[in-house]
Symmetry: C2
Subunit: 297 residues, 2 copies
C-alpha cells in the first residue's frame, strides 16, 4: 500500500517528535510552523518544507494539526492561506490540539463542506509520550475516516480510542484534565495539611499514598512537591488554558464542576504571580500561600 | 513471654473482627460494648464479658477502644465508670477511633496523669481490612508505649507507622480522608461531565482511568458508580463525620482546604436527603443532582 503524503502543522514540544515518528515510519511528510527554524529542524530529519498551511494541505492527503489553542486552530484551518483553502475532497484533517469542542465542531463542519472529513484527536502523555510514540489519543469524528487514519495514529500513540462524532475526542480530553487537576489538588491538600500540622510530610505521603487515596499523581507529583522541584512536564499555563476550555464546555452544558472550578481559581492565582511556566505540581504553592505553610520532606 | 490481658471496647463493624483476630492470636480478652448482644457474640468466640469500660480497664493491661466519634471516646474513657477509673499505672490505652486530634490529646493527657500512656492509633482499610488483619494503622503517642504495643498492633494491621506525639496518628488519618474524598470527587466530576456531554461513560472511565488521572478510587469506585451500586463499604455518614473532624482540625490550624470543603458540602446535601447510609461512591449522586444528569454505563 502506498503511504499517503502527510502534512504536519505545528512543530512544538508535542508536534515535532510526533512528526519525526511519522518520518521514521516512512511517511512522506511536508511540515509547517509559524517559526521557520522549527521547520528547518524537521527538514533536516527528512521532511519537505511547507510555506503555509494552505501549501501543506494542497500537497497532502492527510493533514495533521497540533497547535496551542482554539484560535490557533481557527487561524490554521479557516484563516487566509489556511488548510481549508488547500484541502480537496477526500483529504482528511487530523486535528490533535486540545481546544474547545464547540470550535472543533465548527472547524470540522467547514472542512466537511469541502468533502474533507476531520477527526478531533487530542492526545495525552506529554513530550515523553510523544517521543516514544506512546501517546493516548482520544478521537472524535466519522468512523470511516478514523479507520483510514488508524495506522497513522498508531505511529504516534499506543492507546487510541474512538468516542463518537466530532467534538467527542476533545470532550474526553477535557474529562481527562478534570480528573488530573482535581487529583493533583487532592495530593496538595493532603501534603499541605500534613505540613501545617507539623507532621513528617514524606511519611504521610508514603502512608496516605499507599492506601485508598493512592493515585498516579500522588506517585509522580508527590515526590516533586516534597523536593520543591517545579520543573515542568506540563505547565500551569497550559493547564490553565485547558481549564478555560473545561469552563467554556461546562458552561455550554450547564454543568457545575465545584472542585475543578476551585482548582482553576488557584491556578489563576499562581499565574497572576508569574508562575505559569512551572509544572502543574507547583499547584502546591497555592496551598502553601493560602495556608502559610511549607511543604517539604 | 506472657501475653497481656487485653480489654476491648467497641465491637462494631471494625472492632468485632479486630477483637476476634486478637482472640485467634491467643490474647486473653475481655470485651465490652454498650450493645449487650455484641458482647455475647464475642464471648461465644472465647472472650470474657466486661460489664463496663471501668470493669474492662481494671482487668487488663492493654485497653483498646474503637468507637464512632469524639464524644464516644470521651464517655468511654473520661465518663463515669470509664476506662480512666479502672486503669492503673503502667496500663496502656490504644485508642483506635477516628476522632478530633484535640480531643484525643486531652484524653491522652488525663490518662497519662494516672500513669497510663495512650496511643492514638486510628485505622484505615474498612471491615474487610479488619477481618483480614490487614489494616493500615497510624499511630501517635509515646515511642516506648508504641514499641510495647507493636506485636498487638501487628495482629490487627499490616502497615503500622508511628508519626510522633499524641494526636499525630489522628492527624494522619484525617490527611488520608482528605486525600480520599477529593479523589472521589475527581472521579465524580470526570464521570458526570462525560455523562452530561453524552459520551460513553464507561469508555471514558477506561481511558481517563488508565492515564495520568489513574487512582485506586477510580479503579474501585468508578465501576460502582457506573453500575449505580451504592452499597456501602464506608458510608457517607461516617465520611461526613470525618470531614467534620477535618474541618475542626483545619479550623484550629487556620488551614483552608478548598476542595475538601466543597466535597463536605456535597456530602452534607446527600445526608439532608437521607442518603447517609449509602457508600461514599454515592457522592456521584450529588453531581448528578447538581448537573441534572445520570452517570451509568
Amino acid at each position: 500500500m502506498v503511504k499517503p503524503n502527510i502534512g504536519f502543522i505545528g512543530l512544538g514540544r508535542m508536534g515535532a517528535p510526533m512528526a519525526k515518528n511519522l518520518l521514521d515510519a516512512d511517511y512522506p511528510l511536508i511540515a509547517y510552523d509559524i517559526v521557520p527554524s522549527k521547520v528547518e529542524s524537521l527538514v533536516s530529519a527528512g521532511a519537505k518544507a511547507g510555506s503555509s498551511c494552505r501549501h501543506v494541505a494542497s500537497e497532502s492527503q492527510i493533514v495533521i494539526t497540533i497547535v496551542p489553542d482554539s484560535p490557533d486552530v481557527e487561524v490554521a484551518v479557516l484563516g487566509p492561506d489556511g488548510v481549508l483553502e488547500g484541502a480537496t475532497s477526500g483529504d482528511i484533517v487530523i486535528e490533535m490540539s486540545t481546544i474547545a469542542p464547540g470550535v472543533g465542531r465548527r472547524v470540522a463542519q467547514a472542512l466537511s463542506q469541502k468533502g474533507a472529513p476531520m477527526l478531533d484527536a487530542p492526545v495525552s502523555g506529554g513530550p515523553q509520550g510523544a517521543e516514544a510514540g506512546a501517546l493516548s489519543i482520544m478521537v472524535g469524528g466519522p468512523e470511516e475516516a478514523f479507520k483510514q487514519c488508524l495506522p497513522i495514529l498508531q505511529v504516534m500513540g499506543e492507546r487510541i480510542e474512538h468516542f463518537g462524532p466530532n467534538g467527542s475526542g476533545y470532550m474526553v480530553k477535557l474529562c481527562n484534565q478534570v480528573g488530573c487537576v482535581v487529583t493533583i489538588q487532592a495530593v496538595c491538600e493532603v501534603l499541605s495539611l500534613a505540613a501545617k500540622a507539623g507532621l513528617d510530610v514524606r511519611k504521610v505521603w508514603q502512608t496516605v499514598g499507599s492506601g485508598l487515596a493512592a493515585s498516579r499523581i500522588m506517585e509522580l507529583h508527590g515526590p516533586k512537591m516534597l523536593e520543591r522541584d517545579y520543573a515542568p512536564g506540563f505547565t500551569l499555563a497550559l493547564q490553565e488554558k485547558d481549564l478555560r476550555l473545561v469552563a467554556a464546555a461546562a458552561d455550554e452544558l450547564e454543568m457545575p464542576l465545584p472542585a475543578t472550578s476551585a482548582v482553576h481559581q488557584l491556578i489563576r492565582s499562581l499565574s497572576a504571580k508569574g508562575k505559569g511556566e512551572l509544572g502543574t505540581q507547583a499547584l502546591v504553592l497555592a496551598m502553601e500561600e493560602l495556608a502559610n505553610c511549607q511543604v517539604k520532606g
